[in-house]
C-alpha cells in the first residue's frame, strides 16, 4: 500500500479504472447487469478504504478481485434462491479465473471502455436511462454522485439504472465492440448522450450548480476517451472540439452569485486559452475532412467567438456563413434563431427581426421563450425599448431555467427603467 494519495486523485483513478474492470468482469462472467452492480460495489468500497489505508500496489487488480468476489456471492445467492444446481457457477475461485484471462488475447482496456460506451448509449434506452448508465458504467460515478448531478433521490437514479439494464436485456444488446460499419451507424446516439450530459453540466459555477459542472467535466472526459479510440471520426472530433471551446468560457459566463453573463459582456481574460487552442486545432482537422457534420460546424462557430479578443472583434459574417452550412446539414429551430442574431449583427437588427417573423410560423418555435428572448434583444438593438421590454418579460414567463428567468426579468426591468428615466 502506498499512502499520501489525495482523495481527488483516488476518485480520478477509480473513474478511469471503472470501465476497464467492468469490461473484464463482463467478459469473464457474461452477465453485464450483475457485473456492473459488482463493480459499483467494489468502487464504493475502494472509495471508503483507499483514502484511509492507502493505494493498493495494483489498484486495478484490487478492484477486479473485490468485484469478482461480489459477483460470486451474487451468483451463489441466485443459485440458492432458484434452487437450480446446474446454474453456471464455476468452482474455480474468481481470482484464478481472472488470472487466466490475462493469458488470452483479450481486448485492450480502452476497447472495453468503448464497447461499454456503445452499450450504455444503446438506441433502445430512453435518454435519462442512457445518461444514468453511461455515467455509472463508463464514467465510474457512484449512483449517489449521478443522482446529485440531476437533483433526484439516489433510489430513483438506481431505478433508472436497473431499468436501463432491463431494456438492454430485452433489446438483446451484447457486450462487444461494434463492427466498424455498425459503430458509424450507432455513433450519433453515443454523441447525443455525451452532448446531453455536457449541456446539463455546462452551467453556473456556484451553489447547487457546482455539482452540475462535474457533469460537464465527465462529459468532456468520456468524449476525450472516445476521441482517443476513434481519432478519425469527424463528428467525434467535432463534438470534442465543441465541448472544449464551450467549456473554455465556463468561468466567465456566470457571476459569483450564479447570474448569467452574456457572451458580449464576459471577461475574456478568464477564458481558458489552452482549451481554446486545442479546440481550434481540432476544428480545423474536423473541417478539413470531406463532409463536416453538425458538431464540427457548431464547434467552428464556437471557435470564431473564442478567437475574438473583444466582443466587437467577432467575425459575424463568418458566423453567419457557418449557420447557413449548419442549417443545410440539419434543420434545427434553435440554430435558426441563432442565425437570426448573426444576420442582425451583419445586416442590422431589422434584417434579424424580419427573419424572426418567418421563424415564428414554425410551431416548434411559436410558443418558445427563446424566440421572444432573441426578438427582445434585436428590438433593443433597433432602439424599440418598450417593445423589447415586453418581449423580455414574455420570455421570462416561459423559460424553465431559474438563472435564465432572472436574467430576462432584469433585462426587461432595465429597459423599462431606461424608457421611464
Amino acid at each position: 500500500m502506498t499512502s499520501g494519495t489525495s482523495p481527488a486523485a483516488i476518485e480520478h483513478l477509480l473513474r478511469e479504472l471503472a470501465p476497464q474492470v467492468l469490461g473484464r468482469m463482463t467478459r469473464r462472467f457474461g452477465d453485464f447487469s450483475a457485473a456492473e452492480d459488482a463493480v459499483q460495489e467494489a468502487l464504493v468500497s475502494a472509495a471508503a478504504s483507499w483514502p484511509v489505508e492507502g493505494l493498493p500496489e495494483e489498484p486495478r487488480a484490487w478492484l477486479t478481485r473485490v468485484a469478482a468476489r461480489r459477483m460470486v456471492d451474487h451468483v451463489r445467492a441466485e443459485t440458492a434462491r432458484r434452487r437450480r444446481e446446474q446454474l453456471v457457477v464455476s468452482l474455480i475461485p474468481p481470482e484464478e479465473q481472472l488470472a487466466l484471462a490475462a493469458d488470452e488475447s483479450e481486448p485492450s482496456p480502452q476497447d472495453d471502455a468503448l464497447a461499454l460506451l456503445f452499450m450504455s448509449c444503446h438506441p433502445a434506452l430512453t435518454a435519462s436511462s442512457a445518461i444514468a448508465l453511461t455515467l455509472r458504467a463508463v464514467g465510474g460515478l457512484t449512483t449517489g454522485e449521478t443522482a446529485r448531478g440531476f437533483f433526484v433521490p439516489e433510489a430513483t437514479m438506481a431505478q433508472r439504472i436497473s431499468r436501463a439494464k432491463q431494456a438492454l436485456r430485452e433489446a438483446g444488446a451484447s457486450f462487444e465492440l461494434p463492427a466498424p460499419e455498425d459503430a458509424v451507424r450507432r455513433l450519433p446516439s453515443v454523441l447525443h448522450v455525451l452532448y446531453m450530459i455536457f449541456s446539463e453540466g455546462y452551467s453556473a459555477s456556484s451553489g447547487a450548480a457546482l455539482q452540475r459542472s462535474d457533469l460537464a467535466f465527465e462529459a468532456l472526459r468520456l468524449t476525450r476517451l472516445l476521441h482517443a479510440q476513434l481519432p478519425q471520426a469527424a463528428e467525434v472530433v467535432g463534438l470534442y472540439a465543441l465541448m472544449l471551446l464551450t467549456d473554455a468560457r465556463r468561468t466567465a459566463r456566470t457571476a459569483a452569485d450564479g447570474s448569467i453573463i452574456p457572451l458580449d459582456r464576459q471577461n475574456r481574460a478568464l477564458w481558458d486559452r489552452s482549451a481554446i487552442a486545442h479546440g481550434v486545432e481540432l476544428v480545423s482537422q474536423a473541417l478539413s475532412g470531406e463532409a463536416p457534420g453538425p458538431y464540427a460546424v457548431q464547434a467552428a462557430i464556437a471557435a470564431v467567438h473564442d478567437e475574438a479578443e473583444r466582443a466587437e472583434d467577432t467575425d459575424w459574417p463568418q458566423i453567419l456563413a457557418l449557420y447557413d452550412v449548419l442549417l443545410g446539414l440539419s434543420p434545427n429551430p434553435m440554430a435558426a434563431l441563432n442565425q437570426a442574431v448573426a444576420l442582425a449583427m451583419v445586416h442590422g437588427p431589422q434584417a434579424g427581426l424580419e427573419r424572426l417573423e418567418t421563424l415564428g410560423h414554425d410551431p416548434r418555435l411559436a410558443q418558445h421563450h427563446r424566440l421572444d428572448a432573441v426578438r427582445a434583444h434585436l428590438l433593443d438593438r433597433a432602439g424599440d425599448t418598450a417593445a423589447a421590454a415586453t418581449c423580455y418579460q414574455r420570455a421570462a414567463e416561459r423559460t424553465s431555467s431559474l438563472p435564465e428567468r432572472d436574467y430576462l426579468l432584469l433585462r426587461a426591468a432595465h429597459l423599462r427603467d431606461r424608457a421611464d428615466g
Partner: protein
C-alpha cells in the same frame, strides 16, 4: 424535465376521505401507495408528500415587529392542497399521463374521483448562453 403535480380539493369537495367507509379508504390508500411505488420503480419520482388536514393549517404574516401573526379560520369553500408529487420525466405528455392516473384514484364505492391535478413545470433546466 421536472414537474410538480398538485392535488387540490375544495373544503367541501369530494375528497372527504375521513368520512368514507373503511373499504373505500383502504382502496384509496392502496392506490396511492402503488402509484408512488410505480413512479419510484420507473425512476421518475423525485418526491411526494401528503399534507395534513386543512383544519390544522395556519395563515402566517409578519407583524410590525416581524413576529408571526397567525390566522386559522378558512372559509369552507376554499381550495386546499391535499398533496403533491415532483416527478422527473422525458416529456410533458408523460407528466399529464401520470396526473390523469392520479386523478382517477378510487373514491367512495371504488368510483374514480377524477380530481383536478394541477401540473406545473419546475424551474430546473440549465441556462443557455446568451450572445
Amino acid at each position: 424535465m421536472k414537474y410538480i403535480l398538485m392535488m387540490n380539493s375544495a373544503g367541501k369537495g369530494p375528497y372527504q376521505i375521513a368520512r368514507w367507509p373503511e373499504g373505500d379508504i383502504q382502496r384509496h390508500i392502496g392506490f396511492m401507495r402503488d402509484l408512488n411505488q410505480e413512479l419510484q420503480r420507473s425512476g421518475e419520482l423525485v418526491g411526494a408528500e401528503g399534507l395534513a388536514a386543512p383544519d390544522q393549517a395556519k395563515l402566517v404574516r409578519a407583524g410590525q415587529d416581524g413576529k408571526p401573526i397567525t390566522d386559522g379560520v378558512f372559509p369552507e369553500t376554499k381550495e386546499f392542497l391535499v398533496g403533491y408529487w415532483i416527478i422527473d420525466v422525458e416529456s410533458a405528455e408523460r407528466a399529464y399521463a401520470i396526473a390523469a392516473k392520479a386523478s382517477a384514484a378510487p373514491g367512495p364505492g371504488g368510483k374514480p374521483l377524477n380530481m383536478p391535478i394541477e401540473v406545473r413545470g419546475v424551474m430546473s433546466a440549465p441556462p443557455p448562453e446568451y450572445a
